[in-house]
C-alpha cells in the first residue's frame, strides 16, 4: 500500500509539474505559443469528456454531453452579458444549471439502456441546438457575441484572479485556468471512483437488477451521477464561451457529443485518466497533422483505426497489460 501510494503521489507530482511548469517552459523555449490554445482546449474538452466517462461508469453510453456544454456556455454568456455578473460566479452557476437540467431529463430517460440511451442523448443534443435557435433569451440564430473577457475576482479587496483584459497574455491565464479546472475535475472523479459511490456504480455497471436487489437505490444514484457528469459538461462549455467571447447554437453540436464519447473510448473506459489521454490524442493529433493538408483526415482516421486494432480496450490498457505480466 505505501509503495503504491508513494508511486501515486510521485505520478501526481510529475503530472502537476509538467502541466504547470514544464509545458509553459517548453512552449516559451520553442516559441510555439499557439499550443497554449490547443492545450487549453484539450483541458476543457477533457473536463467534459470526464463527465461522459462517468456515465459510462454506470453503464450508460452518453452522446449528449454537447447539449450540456451548450447549455453551460449559454447560461454563463447570458449571465455575463445581460445580468452583468462576474464570469467567475457564472461559471459554477452554468455547471449547476446544466446539472439541474440533467436531473429533470435524467429522471425519465435514465431508465433506458444501451443503444437506446445513447440514441436519446444524441437526439437531446439536437433538441438543445434547436431550442437555442428558437428561444428569445439566447438571441436565436445571431448568437451572443462580444462577451467581455473574465473580470477581476476579489474577496475583501484581495485580488484572487486579475482582470483578464488587463493581462499581457490572456492565453496563459486561460491555460492555467483550464488546467486548474481539469486537475480539480479529475481529482473529484478519482475520489468518486474510489469512494463508496464508485463501488456502487461499479455494481450497477455489472448488473442493475442485482444492485437494486441488494438495496442500492439505483434510480437515485444514476440521476446523481448524470447530474455530476452534466455539471462537468456545463463548466467546460462555459469556459469555452469565455475564450471564444461568443456563443452560437452551433458552438456545440452532435459531432462534439460524439467526440466526447470517442475520447473516452480511445483513452480506455476502465481508467479514470482515460478520457484525458483520449482527448489529448484525438484533439491534439488533428492539429499535429495540420501539415498534411488534404491528406490530414485520411492519415488521422487511419492512425485512429490502427490504434483501435492494436489496443481495442483503450490507450491506457498498455499499462494494464504490462502490470499484469509483472504480477505473474
Amino acid at each position: 500500500m505505501t509503495h503504491s501510494g508513494m508511486r501515486r503521489t510521485l505520478a501526481l507530482v510529475v503530472f502537476l509539474v509538467s502541466v504547470f511548469w514544464l509545458i509553459p517552459f517548453l512552449i516559451s523555449v520553442s516559441g510555439r505559443w499557439n499550443f497554449y490554445f490547443t492545450l487549453t482546449s484539450v483541458a476543457l474538452l477533457s473536463v467534459a469528456s470526464a463527465g461522459v466517462w462517468l456515465t459510462f461508469y454506470i453503464g450508460r453510453i452518453n452522446i449528449g454531453q454537447g447539449a450540456f456544454a451548450l447549455i453551460g456556455a449559454y447560461v454563463s454568456a447570458i449571465l455575463v452579458t445581460k445580468a452583468d455578473m462576474s464570469f467567475w460566479i457564472s461559471l459554477p452557476i452554468a455547471g449547476l444549471f446544466a446539472g439541474l437540467v440533467a436531473v429533470l431529463i435524467g429522471l425519465p430517460i435514465l431508465r433506458l439502456r444501451g443503444v437506446y440511451f445513447a440514441m436519446i442523448t444524441l437526439v437531446l443534443t439536437e433538441v438543445v441546438r434547436l431550442a437555442a435557435l428558437a428561444l428569445p433569451i439566447t438571441n436565436g440564430a445571431k448568437g451572443i457575441v462580444s462577451i467581455p473577457l473574465p473580470g477581476e475576482l476579489s474577496i475583501l479587496g484581495i485580488t484572487l484572479i486579475p482582470d483578464f483584459s488587463t493581462l499581457e497574455n490572456p492565453k496563459l491565464a486561460f491555460y492555467y485556468t483550464a488546467c486548474i479546472l481539469m486537475v480539480v475535475c479529475y481529482g473529484a472523479l478519482y475520489r468518486i471512483v474510489n469512494s463508496r459511490l464508485g463501488h456502487l456504480c461499479r455494481s450497477m455497471q455489472q448488473n442493475e437488477e442485482l444492485a437494486s436487489s441488494v438495496g442500492v437505490n439505483v434510480a437515485y444514484l444514476r440521476v446523481v451521477i448524470f447530474a455530476i457528469s452534466s455539471f462537468f459538461g456545463g463548466v467546460g462549455g462555459a469556459m469555452f464561451g469565455a475564450i471564444a467571447q461568443s456563443v452560437y447554437p452551433s458552438s456545440f453540436v452532435v459531432k462534439d457529443s460524439i467526440d466526447f464519447m470517442l475520447n473516452c473510448f480511445l483513452g480506455g473506459l476502465g481508467y479514470v485518466f482515460g478520457p484525458m489521454l483520449g482527448t489529448l490524442t484525438l484533439y491534439f493529433g488533428w492539429d499535429l497533422l495540420f501539415e498534411l493538408g488534404r491528406y490530414q483526415l485520411l492519415v488521422y482516421s487511419s492512425v485512429l483505426i490502427l490504434l483501435i486494432l492494436v489496443l481495442p480496450n483503450g490507450l491506457l490498457s498498455i499499462r494494464l497489460n504490462r502490470m499484469r505480466s509483472l504480477r505473474r
Binding site: 490547443t38 448568437g143 469555452f240 471564444a244 461568443s246 452560437y248 459531432k255 490530414q296
Partner: protein
C-alpha cells in the same frame, strides 16, 4: 507527460521541415497568406473552392516571377487550416496563423467561426476576410475583419428591387435551413423585402440541412403562391433539390438566392428545371469576365480538374490583400498601416472588363471601410450556364 513533450518536439520538427522545404524551393522571399475555413465534412465545398482559388492564384503569381511589394518580389505561399466548421478549431487555426507570423488570413466561412476568431485576430494583429455577414464583425469597435464578398442584406434589396420593377413581383416567400447563418440571412432578407414594400406570404418554414426530400418542406410554402421564392443562405448541395421539388410541385414563379452557386451542380441536380434561377455570382460570365478571369478559370481547371463557379466570388480577397500591400509595403508587418491604406486604396479590378475599381467600401453598412468592393453580379441560370442579369455596386 512525456508523451506531450514528444508531441511538441515532433511537431516542431515537422514545422521546421516544412518551412525549410518551401525556402529551398523558392529563390524569392516568401510571403505567407493564411486560410482558415472548412475543407472537410458537409460544408467542404465552401472552403475548398475558397482555398483552391487562393492556391491557383498563388501558383500563377509564383510561376510568373512573383509579386512585387515595394522593392521586394515575393513568392506567395498559402497556409491552409481546416477548421471542420467548428468554432473551437477555427480559433486554433487563427492561433496557428499567428504562430506562423501571418498577418493576413482569408476565412472563416461561417458566422460562429468568424465571431470566435475575433479575439485572437485582434490580439495578434491579423486582418481576416471572413465570408460571414453579421454586422458586429465589421462595425467599430471591431476593426480587423473585412467582409470578403457582398452581404445578403446588400444584394437582396438590389435583386428584389430589380424583380419588382422588371417582373412585377409583389409577394415573396422565404425558406431557410435551421442553422445560424441561413436564418440570419432570412431575417435580414425579410426586413429588406418588407422595406421595399413586398408582401411576405411565408417566412417561417425551415428545413434540416440533412433533408433528403424537400417536397414536404416546400408544400406549405408553395400553397401560398408567392411571386418570388427566396432560398436564404442555401448551400450549393441543397439548392438543386429545392428548385427541383418546387418546380415539380407546380410552382411557376421566380426562385432566387443571395449566395453563390455552381452551374455544373445545378445542371446535374435540377437540369432544365433550374432555368430562370437567380443567384449572386462573381465575374466569370462571358459578358463581364476579363482575359485575366478567363485565364484564372483555365488555370484553376488545370490544377484541380474541375472549376467551381463559387470561386468567382472568392477570387478577390487574396488580390485585395496583395494589391493593398503593394500600395503600402509597410503594411506587411503592421496591420495598422493596412487599415490606414484601406481608406484611400484604389486599383483597377483585373478580373472584370471595363474600368471597375478595387477599393474598400462599407461606410453605409458598417460605418467604416471594412468590405471589399466587388461587383454585385446577379446571374440567371439558363440551359446549363449562368448569364449576367445585371451588375450593381455596393457602397
Amino acid at each position: 507527460m512525456k508523451r506531450r513533450s514528444i508531441f511538441t518536439a515532433l511537431s516542431a520538427a515537422l514545422v521546421l521541415a516544412a518551412a525549410q522545404g518551401t525556402v529551398g524551393l523558392a529563390a524569392n522571399p516568401v510571403l505567407k497568406v493564411g486560410f482558415v475555413g472548412v475543407t472537410s465534412g458537409p460544408a467542404a465545398a465552401w472552403g475548398i473552392s475558397n482555398q483552391r482559388s487562393m492556391e491557383t492564384r498563388a501558383a500563377w503569381i509564383n510561376e510568373t516571377g512573383g509579386y512585387t511589394i515595394g522593392d521586394v518580389t515575393y513568392d506567395i505561399e498559402i497556409v491552409s487550416f481546416d477548421d471542420q466548421k467548428d468554432p473551437k478549431r477555427a480559433i486554433a487555426g487563427m492561433e496557428k496563423m499567428a504562430q506562423e507570423g501571418i498577418h493576413y488570413v482569408v476565412g472563416p466561412n461561417v458566422d460562429n467561426g468568424a465571431a470566435a476568431v475575433r479575439p485572437v485576430a485582434e490580439a495578434n494583429g491579423i486582418m481576416y476576410f471572413p465570408y460571414a455577414f453579421p454586422k458586429e464583425l465589421y462595425m467599430a469597435p471591431a476593426s480587423n475583419a473585412v467582409l470578403g464578398m457582398v452581404a445578403n442584406y446588400q444584394s437582396g434589396p438590389a435583386i428584389y428591387k430589380y424583380l419588382m420593377e422588371e417582373k412585377g413581383v409583389k409577394t415573396v416567400a422565404f425558406i431557410a435551413a435551421n442553422e445560424s447563418d441561413p436564418l440570419s440571412q432570412r431575417d435580414s432578407g425579410l426586413a429588406a423585402a418588407e422595406a421595399l414594400g413586398l408582401e411576405a406570404v411565408s417566412a417561417n418554414v425551415t428545413y434540416q440541412v440533412d433533408t433528403t426530400d424537400f417536397t414536404p418542406v416546400l408544400t406549405p410554402v408553395i400553397r401560398t403562391r408567392p411571386d418570388l421564392l427566396v432560398l436564404s443562405g442555401v448551400s450549393p448541395a441543397n439548392a438543386p433539390q429545392l428548385i427541383r421539388s418546387a418546380r415539380e410541385l407546380g410552382y411557376q414563379g421566380l426562385i432566387s438566392t443571395e449566395t453563390a452557386q455552381d452551374a455544373q451542380v445545378l445542371r446535374e441536380g435540377a437540369g432544365d428545371l433550374a432555368n430562370g434561377f437567380i443567384s449572386v455570382g462573381g465575374a466569370s460570365t462571358p459578358e463581364i469576365a476579363s482575359d485575366m478571369m478567363v485565364e484564372f478559370v483555365t488555370r484553376y481547371t488545370e490544377m484541380f480538374g474541375e472549376y467551381n463557379d463559387e470561386s468567382n466570388t472568392k477570387v478577390y480577397a487574396l488580390e485585395y490583400i496583395l494589391a493593398t500591400l503593394a500600395a503600402n509595403p509597410a503594411a506587411i508587418e503592421d496591420v495598422e498601416e493596412f487599415k490606414q491604406t484601406m481608406d484611400t486604396f484604389e486599383a483597377p479590378n483585373p478580373y472584370m472588363k471595363g474600368d471597375a475599381m478595387m477599393r474598400y467600401v462599407g461606410m453605409s453598412s458598417f460605418g467604416q471601410r471594412r468590405q471589399v468592393a466587388v461587383p454585385l453580379v446577379v446571374n440567371v441560370f439558363q440551359d446549363g450556364e449562368f448569364e449576367t442579369l445585371f451588375v450593381a455596386e455596393v457602397d
